[in-house]
Subunit: 239 residues, 2 copies
DNA sequence: ATACAAATATGTACTATAAACACATTGATT
DNA sequence: AATCAATGTGTTTATAGTACATATTTGTAT
């Protein structure tokens, strides 16, 4: 965008700056074989009693990419997680109090392992499957982020934030099934996961299961931070 | 995002509204076997002589999704094209005149067929391969959009806007090669395109080529508006 | 008219991945 | 010792990806 300084000054605080910008975080968790999402009670009278995503206005002195990390930190105490921008929503009337454009990010955290400091007592986990309606256009945002998560789940090792350090293949498969909302064949699933080479066999066994215990695995260390594997499709097209 | 009306009013025109929002359009064209992009001379003194993307501030009364269509219309006279949101860029100092967050869209138009009304005489086509540097963070935006285009090119029938009504398979392959930046095997390319079932055989032959003419094809009518095929990967995962 | 140049059109063998599917094994519980 | 519940594993079939060569058609130059 081209914008002369003079133009900015002329229009400043008149028209164009009458739009606020926020980020909203779709924070997925996982518990008891169900995909969950962290929500907060809306404090707008228009949406009284309804739940909404965790979000905040972007501060004038922060990068847009920093904002969702800050929100996540403030709301849950968590840092150092995978966060990805998904889409920017800016319908005219999406916010009843004024013009607010919001950029949505998604994130995945382990509900049980990281104990959240849920200082706001109006912040709670909800089963994604149960959510029919949210404040603002947050249901649309959730759906968009869930769709993105489902796309990425086989391409990148993103979901290991949802599991404890050590996990069995059954636990991993249960997680995939919760995210994708479908049942998977165990043998084919294991083959596919093996191909990815994301896991390290720990030579340990599950414990405290009322049946034959399975082997335990962990994620390969070098995958933990982040990894981009975008070129796959392209390479597949080279002949 | 939750935002009380009172809060909005309190902070209005002080902090949070000191951020402007723009859209930038990465408009791809295609000519003489090269992928091109439409650029405009920057009118900022900081970027004197440099080229930048076509963009504009979002108007207070327009949806964010409408803005890139308006920009495209204003700059090129074109309507009714494929436009897709790619990413929102909001580094602190990306704009020298103030805080501006921008949402990038990409679009594909046929340079030769639609005669642009290039009223702004500082708007010109540039070969994508030649672009080393642009004003602002526009080179980053271009790269991001090009990456997205390359991803989508095999999944969705998006690129037919870059070709005339009737085209040969060679012309189509040349286009793919220009976008992907690689050479493709003709036989495998044809097989792959045939699998997509995007084309209609017109039973006509090329004309005015100095060699054996090829068959002409057009895009299936029902694909022209838009088509979402996002579920492919997911289905592939069901076993 | 003939030969040549340049591009079209087409098929097969090999490999890799996807999908459907069944049975023996282990450990805990009774 | 028998039962239960889940683990662990392999084969077959179908589909898609990749590498690769030859005959055909048209225009052009001689």
């Amino acid at each position: 965008m081209n914008l002369k300084t003079a133009e900015v000054e002329k229009s400043s605080h008149l028209d164009y700056f009458n739009i606020a910008i926020s980020v909203d975080c779709v924070i997925f968790g996982y518990d008891k074989k169900e995909l969950e999402i962290l929500l907060i009670k809306s404090d707008l009278k228009e949406f009284e009693g309804m739940w909404s995503l965790l979000g905040d206005l972007i501060k004038p002195n922060e990068d847009i990419e920093s904002a969702p990390y800050r929100v996540l930190k403030e709301r849950t105490g968590l840092e150092d997680v995978y966060l990805e921008q998904v889409h920017t929503f800016g319908s005219l009337n999406r916010h009843p109090s004024g013009r607010v454009i919001t950029t949505a990010y998604y994130s995945l955290i382990d509900i049980n392992h990281h104990k959240l400091q849920l200082t706001h007592n109006e912040v709670h986990w909800h089963k994604v499957g149960d959510i029919k309606k949210l404040a603002f256009d947050h249901k649309l945002i959730l759906d968009t982020c869930l769709q993105r998560l489902r796309q990425q789940v086989m391409e990148k090792p993103v979901i290991f934030n949802l599991l404890p350090e050590k996990f069995s293949l059954r636990e991993l498969q249960d997680l995939y099934q919760a995210i994708l909302g479908i049942q998977l064949d165990r043998r084919n699933f294991r083959k596919k996961i093996a191909l990815k080479e994301w896991l390290v066999d720990l030579d340990e066994m599950e414990d405290n299961v009322p049946h034959r215990p399975g082997k335990l695995y962990k994620v390969k260390l070098d995958l933990k931070p982040k990894s981009a594997k975008k070129k796959k499709k392209l390479i597949a097209f080279v002949s």
